[in-house]
Subunit: 527 residues, 2 copies
Amino acid sequence: MLRLNFKQRGFKLSKGVPVEFRYFRGLNLISSKCHYSTFTPAEPLSIHDINQQTVEAKYAVRGKIPIIAEGLQELIKSSPTNHGLPFNRIINANIGNPQQLDQKPLTWYRQVLSILQYPELLNEEGIKFPNDVKERAKAILKNVGSIGAYSHSQGAAYFRQSVADFISKRDGFPANAQDIFLTSGASTAVSYLIQLLSQNEKSGFLIPIPQYPLYTASIALNNSKPVGYYLDESNQWSTNPKEIRQLLKEKVKDGIIIKALVVINPGNPTGGILSKQDMVELIDICAEHGIVLIADEVYQENVFDGKFLSFKRVLSEMKKNSPHLYKYVQLASLHSTSKGVTGECGQRGGYMELVGFKPAVKDIIFKLASINLCSVVSGQAMVELMVNPPKEGDESYARYISETNEIHDDLKVRAEHLFKAFSEMEDISVDKPQGAMYIFPKLNFKPDVYHKLFSRAKNSNLQIDDVYCIELLEHTGICCVPGNGFGQRPGTYHLRTTFLPPGVEWVERWKDFHYSFVNKYKDMTLM
Amino acid sequence: MLRLNFKQRGFKLSKGVPVEFRYFRGLNLISSKCHYSTFTPAEPLSIHDINQQTVEAKYAVRGKIPIIAEGLQELIKSSPTNHGLPFNRIINANIGNPQQLDQKPLTWYRQVLSILQYPELLNEEGIKFPNDVKERAKAILKNVGSIGAYSHSQGAAYFRQSVADFISKRDGFPANAQDIFLTSGASTAVSYLIQLLSQNEKSGFLIPIPQYPLYTASIALNNSKPVGYYLDESNQWSTNPKEIRQLLKEKVKDGIIIKALVVINPGNPTGGILSKQDMVELIDICAEHGIVLIADEVYQENVFDGKFLSFKRVLSEMKKNSPHLYKYVQLASLHSTSKGVTGECGQRGGYMELVGFKPAVKDIIFKLASINLCSVVSGQAMVELMVNPPKEGDESYARYISETNEIHDDLKVRAEHLFKAFSEMEDISVDKPQGAMYIFPKLNFKPDVYHKLFSRAKNSNLQIDDVYCIELLEHTGICCVPGNGFGQRPGTYHLRTTFLPPGVEWVERWKDFHYSFVNKYKDMTLM
């Protein structure tokens, strides 16, 4: 009989165990045969044994605050009557997930998709689907076939043609189906592009600060360099092309080769919208330096005043006037079915249009898409339904228009309501969102409160905005994301919240919390 | 007026252009304001400016032969009556894509999914859906909510519980919903795992040769090392654990740290099935060396004789008998809705179960999943419907059983038919597939034919199996993949074909082609 003294994890041998005991025997009855094993089992891999880029990458939208929120949600679910919390549900304002917050899907989308899932519905006599719904479903089934088959790696040609038609109509300039890649939301497009352009650890990506953390996460995963340019909070989060030119000069000295300029328009998390003049100057920069312009335009439907202007359109105008200057500009523009009035996040539809890339480079993106086989075909169909909706005279048209208007107007009202609430809070400054789904208010605490908060945060290895978000969550159940997850100027602190949650009660709760929070720290005596 | 002489691409200045002309001016009318730009435009990025791993990665399943096939398909479509080809359609035997080849989706799946897309169907009186279909859809809507909302990054808890229940029932050992990650097919799971474990360029992955090229592609993208172990063609493509132990010893000398052992069971492209004894020995190896066992079990429903045995089950038995030896074995087992009788490739459903991983490492995988937000929720629902099908007594049961049996039996008949055809062909040796969807016959040309083919291939910078596949495609429209895309012993040549295409006519065409091909090269005189 063996008597070994192992440490609890990992079979580290304690001192005093004779060497010959380092091998021991297990007996397994396998297939009625005896199986003897003789070896020292190894410990499982630790985080020091794996890809350090995966360890270092951060993703705040589903980071520490949302994880605490999830724990609280579980607690409420498991102990609905005695959870001891001062609220009964979590308000997920951390992520732009409209249907989680009760936004209704558009009937048009869902009727067509139900037929694509079960084409026999076309033969069900009892069913009262509009004619244009049935016709569209038939056209898709005829041209694309079953949504249960892999499509072309770039997405079904029929859907890509619809996207090209949509872009042509939106911009007044032609688009080509061969330049379209259908993707799983816009996230897959971002990861293809960052992966493609990360040549080595000196490859740099110009990203706005604040930014959507998918960019910094993808850059970290690919071991390349984020090069942040600050958006101007004092001027509605506008972009300063001069700063970008300056950064290009500085980074060359450090040996950093800038590969791409990322622009999020309308902005996430800021809600800002670029001026045409700034877009022109950004394109100039890309033309001059041969860097790829990644235009994240997923919030193009979320514009509250005026009309969305795409980079593709501005570039096309510039190309028309000065082809010799702009014909080689490499633009990747991204769109998604997750945002806008569509809000179908879980369906994972999206596309990117690539113009100006060398064919050999585009082939590499095609290969990356091929390795993943294809994006979900029902999501591809959703892109088709988004870019090619019912037209005037179609049976679904009136309902489609009324539903989309309702969602659009509703979002605008919620945005204004939340903006007004923040404007009224002490020690908060906030810009009126021009687009997207978020507000990014600044915590402007006066020196007394600031110092106490700073000290409180430092003691817990946190930042001031972390403390605010954690206390907000603990007291109200509202989950938002600290500004440090998106990037902010050193010494400034922000929050990102969606304005998607319905109703006004949660906003009142937030106001009450804020009042108490500020007063608590005012009254607090530093140890 | 400027007169500049540019090279056609890239504005390279020709000699003799004065330096001051290197800057020129463009005039753009933007927002009714004049915009003057003064710069030398840069060339777009070439493949030398991008991530070389993305350039080097190969993916044969959608590689050169399928790309030629696609071109021919376009030609047939654009010139249906005068394309000049000796066939009128392409037979896509290159990829396991059942519904592209007319396999019908199971009614059970599609009825439930149509309701999830359009829950109003539950209120349509005219509709004749079975009760269990309606009940399941209601349960999903109640527990998961709209499939248009992002789910939990790991997948909706309700679906993960179903997967855990399925595994427990399949194996007779418990499984935990917290260990389940719902993924887009199995491909996403593979890329998370390879990315996670690729610590540096010395990180090695033991992969079978031949293998499914997703593995080599992912390893190349992450700049780590594939370490191939040969499957034994003379013994029904079995795995030799001794060879793997030998490789481990050799690679240590080269400084390679093996991170994982990839096993595909049933095998792709071989159709082979592992013996229990070999599975036990592979687990021993992983236990002793602390390497992750990646068990790609996506073909678990495609087993023609006997019952599928999972690595989770074998590991659980071994753990039960010798916990001290096996409690730290790290197993990632993968499944998918794309294969089996399900065959819903385009719906992108799949899962992986992780056991034995340190919590901190599992957290990193969770973060990778979070960065991608979530897998498509309708695909998650499809996983639920696959692992939790109608039970005896349910209204859908009889239809479900009859449809699944039909698909299963049909595949078996097709496999046998194709096997028989290859067995009868001159200079071909082939193993009867025990599972999966593929046959991997060997081209055994006699020296005379072999030498001529070798010379013909070399002249075009191709391999013998490339030449065979290209000529097969050109003469018959049948698209299959050369063995070199999967890996094969040097000097041997194979083909991978699915047995999914319906009918027998294409097989007869293949036989005729093969006869002519062999005779053509027999009669050929070498220059």
